[in-house]
């Protein structure tokens, strides 16, 4: 378990039923929608299950770095992530890959990753 300001108040937008079922609420800075994440479920999977497109989806295995996020507030656990995309210092600073992050309470996060941050030349002519 890793805490970034563990005493912060929850954002409190989930309905009471979801709360009773143990859902965690994930709030993404600058986004209207919230992600309700079941205990043990990784954040990216929860987002995909809800058919939301708030965090870019890549390999889903902790390898490609596309779903890189910064946790601003809340507790979570992670499984092993590529050190190329999340260094030990990043990890200590609350950076993680959403596909490897299991919330353990409500979270507030910011999206860092993008599938177009390092595009292949194949796409460049089409992107102008």
């Amino acid at each position: 378990m890793r805490g970034v300001d563990a005493n912060a108040p929850s954002t409190g937008d989930l309905d009471a039923g979801s709360r009773l079922r143990g859902f965690h609420e994930i709030r993404i800075l600058d986004a209207e929608q919230r992600i309700a994440c079941t205990p043990g479920e990784n954040l990216l999977r929860a987002m995909e299950r809800l058919n939301l497109h708030l965090i870019p989806v890549g390999c889903r295995g902790g390898g490609c770095g596309v779903c890189r996020i910064q946790v601003r507030r809340g507790d979570y656990a992670t499984r092993q992530m590529s050190r190329v995309h999340v260094s030990a210092a990043d990890e200590a600073a609350g950076i993680a890959l959403a596909c490897c992050l299991m919330p353990q309470g409500d979270l507030e996060i910011e999206v860092l990753g993008s599938a177009t941050s390092n595009p292949s030349a194949v796409l460049k002519p089409l992107q102008g």
Partner: protein, 306 residues
């Protein structure tokens, strides 16, 4: 047959974050056979129809991707000659002693201009496909998962793919079978050392040394659909497919191993002969070149690499 003394991609060594999860994926889902483990903890696997001892090596590491890709060459003389040719071309080569990979002879290692480590070897111990050489049966019973027959090729990403093309054509005598061009700029290239539509492929990319996928051969389109069923049954991370490529004509599906390395299983390209001229795809038709049915580019397919 091709004039190249290089006969096939013979092995790929992949880095994985969780070795046992990776073994379950490659052994139980792709259907490779786990052959052995070495003192460094590396796991060796092969497709059921491969004759040599192994074709996939998994190594646990803190970041996924490809350690190296090995090509088998026809005989020790060819290995010595190609080593000299690589040096003459300007490559720094290194001899890896026999047995460093279990059951594999001496390897000549060098770097492609895109930074990928490639090695040549002439000898690997014979294991056989279990069917024998005299009056064999057509296939082996009891193979798991997708029942991949063999390792087929890799697609690699990096900057100087022109350098890679020159090295592979001029020194190793590969043929360029297909390329994607944006005006004068080659943005993707497919090369063969054999009768296959590709034995290795490259996409131009801002970062060197990147791994796009390792591909494994299936027999039929029906088997590609069955692979898709297995991907769903076991909740494997799906990338794309089943679909058809315009390039190489392959019928294909892409998915990820548990560490995020992309895999392909495919069937049905065409026969390449060295007197053929390369096929050219233009950037304005790139959608159908890559995904012939959709005719639309997919950002993740093109940019997600390890």
């Amino acid at each position: 047959m091709a004039q190249s003394a290089v006969i096939r991609p013979g092995h790929v060594c992949l880095r994985v974050l969780d070795l046992e999860a990776a073994v379950r994926h490659y052994r139980d889902r792709l259907g490779l056979l786990e052959i052995e483990r070495d003192s460094e903890g590396r796991v060796y696997l092969k497709g059921w129809d491969e004759q040599d001892w192994f074709s996939v090596v998994l190594r646990e590491a803190d970041h996924p991707g490809m350690d190296f890709l090995g090509f088998k060459v026809l005989g020790a003389d060819a290995l010595t000659r190609l080593e000299a040719d690589l040096k003459a071309w300007g490559c720094v080569t290194e001899r890896i002693p026999a047995g460093e990979l279990r059951h594999c002879g001496e390897r000549v290692r060098f770097q492609l201009p895109t930074g990928h480590v490639v090695e040549l070897y002439a000898q690997k111990d014979f294991m056989g496909n279990g069917l024998g050489r005299v009056n064999p049966d057509p296939w082996l019973e009891g193979i798991k998962g997708m029942q991949a027959q063999r390792f087929d090729h890799c697609l690699l990403y990096g900057r100087d793919i022109d350098g890679n093309i020159a090295l592979l054509r001029d020194v190793l005598k590969f043929d360029l079978t297909e390329k994607v061009v944006d005006g004068e700029l080659v943005v993707a290239a497919f090369l063969s050392c054999s009768n296959k539509a590709h034995d290795i492929a490259f996409v131009r990319h801002a970062e060197d040394g990147k791994f796009h996928h390792a591909s494994f051969l299936l027999g039929t389109w029906e088997e590609v659909l069955r692979a898709a069923d297995i991907i769903a049954m076991h909740d494997i991370s799906l990338d794309l497919g089943p679909t058809r490529h315009g390039i190489t004509r392959g019928r294909t599906i892409y998915f990820f191993d548990p560490s995020g390395n992309r895999n392909e299983v495919f069937c049905g390209d065409y026969t390449w002969y060295p007197d053929h001229e390369p096929i050219i795809w233009t950037a304005d038709q790139l959608g159908r070149a890559i995904f012939y049915h959709d005719r639309r580019l997919n950002e993740n397919f093109l940019n997600v690499v390890t």
